[in-house]
Subunit: 370 residues, 2 copies
């Protein structure tokens, strides 16, 4: 049984883990706290970037000899394979740790529990699932990719209070305030990719990049730009589109057989063709491809038809909705082109998970429960 | 200068005043606290129902001799006219009160300040405007009627998160949860009247009454039913409409010259005809008539076109919006038929004043800032 002290130490480990949220991709966020045999914290660490040391290694290094007969709190089951930085289980064994408390097991079904078994075989007492729900929240994308071969999909929407995205004449700048637009930048920074449709690219010629600094994100080193993912079946994008000449990698999904040499010389731009599904662009297959590219999370910033298609296909996990204190009226455009619903019971069902003011706007986060 | 103790006593008086919110109409909510010469609370009171004693009289009665050389905290300037219950200024003078602290003056421009002058002429020290903003919030309707000859107009709306009121086939039961519908009952109970259009009456045959008990409202005595106000220019309502045979008074506004004997025998039903304004139903004139009938507040529960017309005419003060955790899509109906807006700067501007979960729904209250 975990006691209050265990909960405190794991909470600290979770807070440490969170520091990696803008930089560990495609790896998960992991934090570690080491206490000595008297229960005092003697080492802390978190995984900062793929290729750098794991959380446990940082914490053990800080603890030194004081780790002897101590306890390690780790937000994710320690690895037992020889990766870029060696197995963490061995490091814990070598440091003569007596107890290991983990928040959750490795979500990869092929390895889940094996790290724990290695530790136990070496006489280390292991406690599992302490603050497991919180740990899962931290790595929703990584977990979904590992367990389902799909990335976590969040859709960002912004409307007036009456649910309208732009006026009948197409005007929409700006529905939300500068505060909300800054908040979107932070969301982009925490996402592995940003997805949009060719319609948005042709209409707005957006950069779809992160324009906040390392300092604003509170990270060391460079900002990692999320992948830009463009759905463009007929390859209508101009080779001069701004986002193709902006730092970061752009993936353009086209339908099978479509290609052009025009893009060969553009750096960091990849064109991927996909077989249709009954004549329609296969959104699920595209997401599976992203998952195969180790993309944990997708943030959709698109028009009402692509958002609608994703929801119709039950591919959206979460909605992040900015609601501006405005009314635009029924002659303005709506946010969601989904198939017509004919029974109230068949409405798409949400669960509000977070509601907050961002400047003068309201940000409402919901999970979609299909 | 008011001190911390003054603020505490006035806060208590405001809380007392609020107890009358379901029952004092057309009078304002008023609370009073009396402290003795040492600053101890010796009497409290509030105005409960029109015709009953004013707050000061209740508090003075409880204080008895201890009011001598004491202080009276009143949320509204004491009356100085001989109404149903005699002038409160005289009662305070007779009790030998030394200080009177008021939150706000009487909003009737013809009497504002006269009660204070009477007290001062009798050597009582008067402090004005302590927690004035909070006191004004309590009696927004009464103040607007007194100062502008118009009632406070709140519009209740209920939509899915994408701003939709009903499916394309007309289905809308139920967008919001039972908790939200109970909350609407409480709002109805605190409103002097409920306004709707003939469209809603013909479509739903609603009762438009308060169906919560005195106990649920925390009041003594009977629930006071708000006026039901129906806009029905051509008098299309059936004499069998349920709301005509439900406790409470119904006012039906028709265009000039329209009448029918059919309604003569229905109790508590009044038909009021109004001259058109350039061939259109004159919403402003209707609200002025309600104000003249001593109706302080109107809660609109109507369809998207009547709500839109009221907003177009800049007659709405407040929006009380219930947002259900659902998505209904663009084929469903929108909430607001207002004139087409062609510039983002011309969107109707709101100011979120209160945001809370009601069951699984979200209730967003906003002021409209024209």
């Amino acid at each position: 049984m975990a006691n209050q002290r265990d909960v405190e130490c794991m909470s600290l480990a979770l807070r440490l883990a969170k520091r990696g949220r803008y930089t560990t991709r495609p790896n998960p966020n992991v934090g570690c706290v080491i206490t000595n045999k008297y229960g005092d914290v003697v080492g802390t660490g978190y995984h900062a970037r793929a290729g750098d040391s794991h959380a446990e290694i940082h914490a053990l290094k800080e603890a030194g000899d004081q780790a002897n007969a101590g306890t390690a709190y780790v937000t994710l089951e320690p690895c037992c394979h020889q990766g870029k930085t060696g197995p963490c289980t061995q490091a814990l064994i070598d440091a003569n740790i007596s107890n290991v408390v983990v928040a959750m097991q490795d979500p990869n079904p092929l390895v889940a529990g094996k790290g724990i078994q290695v530790l136990q075989r070496h006489g280390i007492h292991v406690t599992d699932n302490l603050l497991g729900e919180q740990a899962k929240l931290l790595n929703r994308g990584f977990i979904k990719r590992m367990s389902q071969g799909m990335p976590w999909v969040s859709v960002k929407t912004a409307t007036s209070m009456d649910g309208r995205t732009c006026l009948n004449n197409g005007q929409s700048k700006w529905i939300t305030s500068e505060h909300a637009r800054h908040d979107v930048q932070m969301l982009r920074a925490s996402s592995d990719s940003i997805l949009t449709g060719i319609g948005t690219v042709l209409a707005d010629d957006p950069l779809l990049n992160v324009r906040v600094s390392s300092k604003q994100l509170g990270i060391e080193g460079n900002v990692i730009q999320p992948y830009r993912v463009i759905i463009d079946p007929d390859l209508k994008i101009s080779s001069k589109a701004k986002l193709l000449h902006t730092e970061g990698i752009t993936l353009i999904f086209v339908k099978q057989g479509v290609s052009s040499n025009e893009f060969n010389e553009i750096e960091n731009c990849e064109i991927i063709d996909l077989p249709d599904e009954d004549g329609k662009f296969n959104l699920k297959l595209m997401l599976e491809k992203l998952s195969a590219l180790e993309i944990n999370s997708v943030m959709v910033e698109a028009g009402s038809s692509l958002v609608g298609e994703l929801i119709n296909s039950k591919l959206v996990d979460e909605l992040i909705h900015y609601m501006s204190p405005k009314l635009m009226g029924n002659s303005s455009n709506g946010m969601l082109d989904i198939d017509e619903i004919t029974q109230m019971d068949n409405c798409i069902s949400l669960e509000y998970s977070d509601i907050r003011k961002i400047g003068n706007d309201l940000r409402i986060t919901s999970l979609i429960t299909y």
